[in-house]
């Protein structure tokens, strides 16, 4: 029998095979609950993984972009030092472009702190130079040495130094999310195995009667496997729906909220949720099948 046919037979069911095992209300409810709770948790682990994945990607993008050079010098030297710095930067490998910010741009940057009426001309404001890196990046230590020699008033502010650890942390967080999903899957398999073992033990007499009258192991196993697979499928569907609802009802992401409120699904990533119930079903199918084969193999 091909796998596909076997699967469809399993889902469509064999009403008779199903009836040979007496209904067990309690185990059934526990299995449903466990599958549901696990699916609910999976939704959050998945949300965490996807959100930190997005975060890491965003930080990574910005990482590739910019650093800032700040020139503090007496007013009469400012123009000369700025020109010297730009010359140094343009001749540094790994820098795509360097551009001195205009007075208006600098005023824009300072406005949130000092108000729009700042008399910029009368204050010793440092000149900022925006540096855009190439993909390979530049040698920060080497650049600092050259600047020290040629533009004594320059301070290189390299954003990457604080972004990299954050990006690494986001990557770890994402990994943690995936590990959690793996653990949840394994725990689901363990719980279903325990439930299936309990059901098999409770039905020892049924199994021995079936063996006596000539039932194959596969027939007996199917009755149990189908039951647990459908329970896990149903439980996980309910759990996933509730988890999705909970995520949906989270306060929506805001600029200032940053990471925490960014937890959620965007666009296509909602589709990942649809995979949870079938995966739970597959886990239950494999776990119950293994438990049934093991139990039946020990019988005579």
């Amino acid at each position: 029998m091909s796998k596909g046919l076997q699967l469809s037979k399993l889902i469509m069911g064999d009403a008779q095979a199903d009836r040979v095992v007496p209904p067990t209300g309690f185990t059934a409810r526990l299995t449903l609950f466990a599958a549901g709770a696990m699916a609910f948790l999976t939704v959050f682990a998945l949300a965490l993984s996807l959100a930190s994945g997005r975060l890491a990607a965003r930080w990574g993008d910005e990482l590739a972009q910019s650093s800032t050079l700040r020139i503090s010098a007496p007013e009469e030297q400012m123009a000369a030092q700025t020109a010297a710095a730009l010359t140094v930067l343009e001749s540094t490998p790994g820098i795509a472009s360097a551009r001195a910010l205009s007075v208006d741009e600098q005023r824009g940057l300072l406005a949130p702190w000092f108000g729009p009426d700042l008399p910029l001309d009368s204050l010793p404001i440092p000149q900022l130079i925006e540096i855009v890196e190439t993909e390979e990046g530049y040698d920060g230590a080497g650049l600092r040495l050259r600047l020290q020699a040629e533009v004594p008033g320059a301070v290189l502010d390299d954003h990457t130094r604080w972004r990299r650890p954050l990006e690494r942390a986001a990557g770890r967080l994402r990994l943690l999310g995936w590990v959690s999903i793996g653990l949840i899957g394994a725990a689901t398999a363990a719980m279903i195995t325990l439930a299936a073992n309990a059901a098999l033990a409770a039905n020892a007499q049924v199994i021995s009667v079936l063996r006596l009258i000539g039932a194959r192991d596969s027939y007996i196993a199917r009755a149990f496997v189908r039951r647990f697979t459908l329970r896990a499928l149903l439980g996980a569907a309910v759990g996933t729906a509730m988890g999705a609802l909970a995520v949906f009802l989270l306060p929506s992401a805001q600029e200032s909220g940053g990471f925490l409120t960014g937890l959620g699904f965007q666009g296509m990533s909602w589709a990942f949720l649809a995979l949870i119930p079938p995966l739970a079903g597959v886990v239950a199918y494999l776990a119950t099948g293994a438990a049934a084969r093991r139990t039946l193999g020990e019988l005579t």
Binding site: Q16, A17, R19, V20, P22, P23, Q205, V206, S208, V209, L210, R211, L212, I213, G214, A215, R216, D217, S218, Y219, L296, G297, T300
Partner: protein, 225 residues
């Protein structure tokens, strides 16, 4: 169809059967007798492959028991109807479905079989009890239901272990009658019993041979019972 070739069987404690050989010919009728604990049930289990002999060879329908896997055993049991002394059923299903269970598990559950099922239940006198659950049956009714379940697949051999153990004399005669009728239809019958009166009463109806287990050996008992 069932051949035992110089077999021995020992439990952890010691040898229960040794140097046992038997060939069940098609259409034969055998009684197996012997004192309690002499190994009658073990012998029957060896005959349907539930136990593997510790020495010697058992062949079921030409296949060595030792070379049969679990599916082969399942298939062999469809050709051997077994009636246990304490027959067990699926207690949550009515008698009708319990008797039809061998058909169900072998995917031979068809409409045509359902009319056979009705006839069969009437034949064992359980027509009116078809919807009862097994725990509601009396000892005799359970034995007859077990017999019906054992023969529904139309097996070549019927093995019965103390089928009259829990029933009164009248009922045991009725069960015997059913087994004799099966034998007349060509089935091979082997009945384990310690009830010598049952064996004597059978002799009027059928050409039966009596095997006795004594001192771990299987002997063909004489006609002097």
């Amino acid at each position: 169809m069932i051949e035992l070739d110089n077999i021995a069987y020992s439990y952890g404690g010691g040898e229960l059967l040794s140097e046992v050989s038997l060939k069940l010919a098609p259409g034969s009728f055998h009684f197996l007798t012997g004192p309690s604990g002499s190994g009658k049930t073990t012998f029957l289990k060896l005959c349907y492959g539930a136990l593997t002999p510790t020495a010697g060879r058992v062949q079921l329908f030409g296949k060595d028991v030792r070379e049969m896997d679990r599916d082969d055993h399942a298939l062999a049991r469809r050709q051997i109807g077994v009636v246990h002394q304490d027959c067990q059923f699926l207690d949550h299903l009515p008698v009708r479905e319990n008797v039809a269970l061998p058909l169900t598990v072998s995917d031979r559950d068809s409409l045509e079989q359902h009319s056979n099922l009705k006839e069969l239940l009437t034949w064992v006198g359980l027509g009116h009890r078809a919807s009862a659950l097994p725990p509601e049956l009396s000892g005799g009714e359970r034995q007859r239901a077990a017999l019906a379940r054992a023969v529904i697949m139309s097996p070549d051999v019927v093995l019965a272990d103390e089928p009259t153990g829990n029933v009164d004399w009248e009922m045991s005669q009725r069960l015997l009658q059913l087994l004799v009728e099966l034998n007349k239809m060509g089935k091979t019958i082997l009945i384990a019993t310690h009830d010598l009166n049952l064996i004597r009463s059978a002799k009027h109806h059928v050409q039966a041979r009596v095997l006795r287990i004594s001192g771990r050996k299987l002997q063909l008992a004489g006609a002097d019972l």
